[in-house]
Symmetry: C2
Subunit: 331 residues, 2 copies
């Protein structure tokens, strides 16, 4: 257990701690074909942002690390459950450089292993002190529902051409923001903070999550493939409704809108040409700048929410660093 | 709230109560495409056995009906979640005479609506008194994991020819028995019964669940299609590893085993001939009688478990009636 000043723990300290805990996590063994994919998926790595935020929030409010570890793992288990099922729904073959569960095994196994991961998440959560359990469970249920709602909206949006930026922000607020928010509020609740502080931690997470997702959209079109670890322009190639795509469609005049529609529907155009021509339109419309403004706007709101939390500024520094790292990241 | 002698409430009283509660259940509305399938599936009917058992068990031990209703609905929500996902995995088009969720909508929606049903189940469960919450949640987690494990084993068994009766009983004990057991123990725990009684209620449910599933297998091959509401022989036609199929393979001599293998693999044989010839072999081996013996054996064990529960015999009568009705049912 860590007893020194809280702000001294670095992000990599928490990340390593979560990695170690995942490695040592005792999963059921039987049937192996149900639990092997769980182990596989949890072992694929990733940034572990959400559980790190739970641990940090807990420590910020003076909570004991030990009390927050299994709830943090619950959050990471839940997040990985959503990835297993999202990969089936999105027909994705690769996740973090490795085959997705439904490709390595099959769809039936991916559905069922995902299901059991959701149950395992609740099991990890159930270990906390019983006086905290009702509030933590209600929070987790609420975040989990919102993540499902966000994924459903994301899929619906793929079939629509009239999605507004407001609707998009609502969607990523549920799909990404709600679990960031839930992770932080959970850590805070476990430490026993006030309701007001818990709400501001939630808002901080929600707003930071939205900024994080907008940055994700920017990187997919403007990142450097050598850094982001995948080909740039994947979202454009697959006609994904990102912040950039929606903003471009909204800002475009009639001729540019026709050009965007043609690029999206023309099956004969090469992938490279499609991406390059779409990016030219984005550039002409200053879409990247507008996305960055929105990202900064939500980042600013997140920081204001954190400002309102009643603890010493030094205790908030780790979390500010995480948020800044996440939102200004290049991968 | 019911205040009269507990044994006076009939099965149909509890079933109707559950139907009414499901009709009045406030589900989230947005996005409609996520929650409409939940409403649809929950409205398809069915026997509502599991929530009825929760209410009965609770009342047997003198619990207030009101305290058990939302947990009972949690059980039914969970059961329906498993059906939505099982129907995808089993490629089933029809459920209770209506299109399955993935046929009426699509697989993506069925995966995600199923996921949110699992979260909604936990939400319904979370409402109980906080002093009961840890034990009830642990029980629910355990049953939920076992149901996933049982479904996985069921799928694995389809690809194997060496499944033993013991392995089959273990599988149905998880897939069907664990939720019967969990439903009963949950009702009992909510009423505040002793650990010993709770364990015997669990065993009663597990053993009755196994007997119930064996009866299901018998009906699929020997029921009357006009009564069971589907064509007789579906399990045989699809080479399902039922109690009957495994027992026949185990009991058969080498010539009969060859005949069974041929019937299972011969794509040119008509469905009717396949069913009739397989049934002839079952008849020659007295498979139906052996299945009935096993069913009676587990039914007897269930009754013995119920005998050990420390409440007046009159209070147990409703539950005995349910078990008897379920196990000797013709549909």
């Amino acid at each position: 257990m860590i007893t020194g000043p809280h702000s001294m723990n670095t992000i990599s300290f928490y990340t390593q701690l979560i990695e170690d805990e995942i490695k040592n996590l005792a999963l059921p063994q039987d049937p192996a074909s149900l639990y092997e994919p769980v182990k596989y998926m949890m072992g694929l790595g990733g940034k572990r942002i959400r559980p790190v935020m739970t641990l940090m929030a807990n420590e910020m409010f003076g909570g004991e690390m030990k009390a927050a570890i299994r709830p943090a793992l619950a959050i990471e288990m839940f997040h990985n459950f959503t990835l297993v099922h999202d990969d089936i729904m999105d027909h994705s073959a690769i996740r973090r450089g490795s085959p997705t569960v439904h490709k390595k095994w099959n769809e039936e196994t991916a559905i069922l292993s995902g299901d059991v991961m959701l149950v395992l998440a609740y099991e990890l959560l159930s270990d906390i002190n019983s006086d905290k359990l009702p509030a933590v469970l209600a929070l987790f249920n609420d975040s989990a529902k919102k993540v499902c709602e966000g994924q459903q909206l994301d899929m619906i949006f793929e079939t629509r051409n009239d999605v507004t930026i407001e609707q998009y922000i609502d969607m990523i607020g549920r799909k990404t923001g709600a679990l960031f928010a839930g992770s932080l509020k959970m850590g805070a609740l476990i430490a026993g903070c006030s309701n007001e502080d818990a709400e501001n931690m939630y808002r901080f997470g929600l707003q930071a999550g939205i900024a994080f997702q907008v940055q994700d959209d920017i990187l997919d079109s403007y990142g450097q493939s050598g850094i982001i670890g995948k080909t740039v322009g994947g979202d454009i190639a697959s006609n994904k409704k990102t912040y950039l795509a929606i903003k471009a469609y909204e800002t475009a005049d009639s001729a540019m809108r026709d050009a965007l529609n043609l690029l999206a529907s023309d099956a004969s155009i090469s992938r490279e040409a499609k991406i390059n021509k779409t990016l030219s339109i984005y550039n002409a419309l200053s879409i990247k700048q507008q996305a960055e403004e929105t990202r900064e706007q939500y980042y600013g709101m997140a920081m204001e929410s954190l400002d309102k939390v009643h603890i010493a500024e030094t205790e908030k520094q780790s979390l500010r660093n995480v948020a800044e790292t996440l939102i200004n990241r290049e991968k």
